[in-house]
């Protein structure tokens, strides 16, 4: 029996992900001039009927964008030509309250991605983004009755929560964070605003969905979630996009405010198509006794920079990050997490798994920072990497900075390959080699998939199965 772990000879077929790669011809879509100038940003702001402060904010962000340089670390993004990417595409339809009023082809797109089914189950509401504008939005009665606000971002800027938004918008992730945060500040469009009042526990998850369809379009949605004291919410973000020849950019931003004793779980299964540049910024600020749980599955994109950051600013704040990254052929996924302990008795746990296959590059990058006043804090990091062949790369770059002695910081990392003994064991039970390797990889990903709601766990296992086909 030949040894199939023979690095140089592993045949890797192009992954058959065609069930995710479908699109519709663009209709009479309105489109920005490519490239980024003050005129374009102003026009964008006017078209969106921004309040004056937002227009000013956009222009200031543009100035910062032009000032900042791209990072000197991480995957090379020099092939991303900003001047060619249109930043705004609006489909020819207005905001919809009811599913049956949404245009057919847009509906079909979401239907294929399973949203109506999801709607029929216990989900509270769905905000679905299609090319920079929310086209469908429905907040369930129960949710609305409890005072939970879940709306698209644009209308929220003029609604009763306008002041709250102004106070929080890009205060956690400021345009100065990095160049693509500044870009976001200038051209953001679409996204969700969620506010959960004091003590309200939503018993089912809120879900949002993104889509990117137009050639060369960028995606800059903004998610702002504010949980008041003692609130509890699970928010699911899942996305997909079809394949194009022109580079696509996703520079979204997620800001999460978790107040005293509140609890937020933020789950994402990201499956952007394989030509996408995913330069996303996610940050949570956690107050006293609050908890943020990130669950993240990264499968798509050509290049990804993704490090959800948790700022633990209140005593006994807690953060958990559970993530899996699967980098296949042509992908360079640089992901991880940042835990900033800035108050006493805070705690964080990072558990990540990464898989590299077919020439994919997977980098785990993290930072655990414990400030001088964060006495009594605990941090633990556990990262495991699986290499499926020798064309691929897997790098682990964890950093820890500790500025006080009353801490407990533990870190462990492992890298290796699929155990031949484990493959033999499974095969001795009649399971084929391909299936055995797929099962082992799914088993490897299990700690993450079991944190996701069922349909996402299923999607994740399907994604793994698709990725694993063609390994032999």
């Amino acid at each position: 029996m030949s040894d199939t772990n023979d690095g140089g000879k592993t045949q890797v077929d192009d992954i058959d992900s065609s069930i995710y790669d479908f699109r519709y011809d663009e209709k009479d879509f309105y489109r920005n001039d490519p490239g980024l100038t003050e005129e374009i940003v102003s026009k964008l702001s006017d078209d969106k009927h921004d309040p004056a402060w937002m227009k000013e904010f956009r222009l200031k962000s543009l100035a910062v964008y032009n000032e900042l340089k791209v990072t000197n670390w991480g995957p090379d993004i020099s092939d991303l030509h900003m001047e060619h990417i249109a930043t705004y595409v609006r489909p020819n339809t207005k905001m919809q309250g009811d599913w049956k009023d949404v245009p057919k082809d847009i509906k079909d797109t979401f239907e294929k991605l399973g949203i109506p089914e999801a709607e029929r189950t216990s989900l509270a509401g769905v905000g679905a983004q299609y090319d920079s504008e929310l086209v469908y939005h429905n907040v369930r009665d129960e949710v609305a009755k409890q005072g939970v606000v879940y709306t698209d971002f644009e209308s929220a800027l003029w609604g009763p929560y306008a002041d709250m938004i102004r106070e929080h918008f890009m205060h956690l992730v400021t345009p100065r964070a990095h160049k693509f945060a500044a870009l976001h500040g200038a051209v953001w469009s679409g996204g969700s605003f969620v506010y959960v009042p004091k003590g309200v526990h939503l018993s089912f998850p809120l879900q949002s969905y993104f889509r990117l369809n137009a050639k060369g379009a960028g995606q800059f949605e903004h998610t702002l979630i504010i949980l008041d004291e003692g609130a509890d919410l699970h928010f699911i973000e899942g996305c997909s996009a079809p394949k194009y020849n022109v580079a696509n950019l996703h520079a979204g931003c997620v800001e999460l405010y978790v107040a005293k004793n509140a609890h937020l779980r933020y789950s994402t299964v990201e499956n952007w198509s394989k030509n996408m540049y995913n330069l996303n910024t996610k940050r949570a600020k956690v107050e006293e006794g609050g908890t943020i749980e990130w669950v993240s599955g990264s499968f798509g994109s050509h290049i990804s920079y993704l490090y959800p950051e948790s700022d633990l600013v209140g005593e006994r704040a807690h953060a958990e990050f559970t993530g899996i990254t699967f980098a296949g052929s042509g992908q360079n996924l640089d992901t991880g997490a940042k835990m900033m302990h800035m108050a006493p008795h805070t705690s964080s746990v990072i558990t990540t798994k990464s898989i590299s296959k077919g020439g994919g590059i997977s980098t785990y990058r993290s930072a655990v920072y414990i400030a001088k006043n964060a006495v009594g804090s605990k941090a633990s990091v556990s990262c495991q990497s699986l290499m499926l062949d020798s064309e691929s790369r897997s790098d682990t770059i964890p950093a820890m900075e500790v500025l006080t002695d009353d801490v407990d910081v533990g870190h462990e990392a492992k890298i290796g390959r699929i155990s031949n003994e484990a493959v033999f064991y499974l095969m001795s039970r009649g399971i084929s080699e391909e299936e055995a390797r797929s099962m082992i990889v799914s088993g490897f990903a299990n700690p993450v998939s079991k944190e996701l709601p069922l349909e996402y766990a299923v999607e994740m296992n399907n994604l793994i199965r698709l990725e694993m086909k063609g390994t032999l």
Binding site: R365, A367, S390, S392, R393, D405, A413, R417
Partner: protein, 360 residues
């Protein structure tokens, strides 16, 4: 001489705000060459050359941990590189001792090449001492080249005065079946920059590194360890243990780089840091880079205070908290010092520790 650069560079960059990608280093004063003379008699089977001269060429390709940016310190000082060679198939039983006893306000640079010919084994112990509160500068660069199935044990013990700045740069290279082991004890100095780079390009070569340190008061320690696996079935084990107290600042970079082709390689890196004061600064970045499927790598780090259980146990035996902390700090050093095959050197280490804790 004038130098203003960055040293102890990470093989791959990360967030700049962490200020861990490298460390800035500048120095502008005269640096004198200091020879690396062997103390006592040269053991049998070892040959010694005070100035390797053109022989250094054969070893020029060996990368070091602190890095090329400090080359100018050695060239401008016109350092004479000593060459210590263990002859083929000779197992040198007695260690080769090189002692640098630095005078107050001295500013020197020294270099050595240790070559173990095929089948030989040799231990070289280099120690650095000076008067207790001496100030000064010292740069040392040591290259180790282990021939086929040869073994080199390099020991470096730093007991410099409390105002000294030191750059201790090491680079190793192994031929097939060759092994290099580096044992380091770093207790003194005000600012120490220690770097070790190990190249494992040959089949079944291996590298082991054990470092123990104690940083107290205003001491700063900046370390950079990197092992590059390119040969098949190569192995490395790195261990760094130490204690920080007072306002000490310590940075540890440990990288295991599995390059394409190193099938069957294994690497293990462990770090243990005991923190004894609320004003210390500890930065750690244990890296694993991997370009080869058939490897197994792991690293672990534990950073924190004296465990409450351990403390309680000791207190129940009448040991005060402060004593307990000292006992643990000494234990970390003792574990590594146990690897040093020379009683005199170990005694010096213990004496130094006695004095250091007496001041606390």
């Amino acid at each position: 001489m004038n130098i203003d650069t960055t040293i102890n560079n990470l093989p791959i960059l990360t967030w700049n705000w962490l200020k861990i990608n490298n460390v800035p280093f500048s120095y502008s004063a005269a640096v004198n060459a200091a020879d690396s003379t062997v103390a006592g008699t040269l053991p049998e089977g070892v040959s010694y050359k005070a100035d390797a001269g053109s022989d250094t060429g054969a070893y020029a390709g060996i990368a070091t941990g602190v890095g090329k940016n400090t080359d100018s310190v050695f060239t401008e000082a016109k350092v004479r590189t000593a060459l210590i060679t263990a002859k083929k198939n000779v197992h040198v039983s007695a260690p080769v001792l090189i002692s640098f006893d630095q005078a107050d306000r001295s500013s020197t640079a020294s270099a050595q090449i240790i070559r173990a010919e095929e089948g030989s084994s040799v231990t070289v112990i280099i120690s650095y001492t000076s008067p207790e509160s001496a100030s000064g500068f010292q740069a040392v660069r040591t290259l180790c080249s282990a021939g086929k199935n040869a073994y080199i044990h390099l020991v470096k013990v730093q007991l410099l005065g409390s105002s000294f700045t030191q750059i201790d740069d090491t680079g190793t290279f192994c031929e097939e079946g060759g092994r290099v082991e580096v044992t380091q004890i770093i207790l003194g100095g005000k600012e120490t920059y220690a770097g070790v780079a190990a190249a494992l390009p040959s089949y079944q070569s291996s590298f082991k590194s054990d470092t123990a340190y104690l940083c107290m008061g205003e001491q700063k320690l900046d370390m950079n360890y990197i092992v590059r696996h390119t040969g098949r079935k190569t192995d490395c084990k790195m261990s760094v243990k130490g204690t920080l107290s007072g306002n000490a600042v310590k940075t540890y970079r440990g990288s295991i780089d599995f390059k394409s082709g190193c099938a069957g390689a294994t690497g293990n890196e462990q770090e243990e840091t005991l923190l004894l004061s609320p004003t210390v600064v500890n930065k750690s970045i244990p890296l694993i880079l991997c370009d080869e499927e058939d490897v197994a790598g792991e690293h672990g780090a534990t950073i924190g205070r004296l465990g409450e259980d351990t403390l309680f146990y000791m207190q129940s035996r009448g040991i005060s908290k402060q004593s307990a902390e000292q006992i643990m700090a000494r234990a970390k050093v003792a574990g590594t010092a146990a690897l040093i095959p020379d009683e005199t050197v170990v005694t010096k280490i213990n004496n130094y520790l006695d004095k250091a804790f007496a001041h606390e």
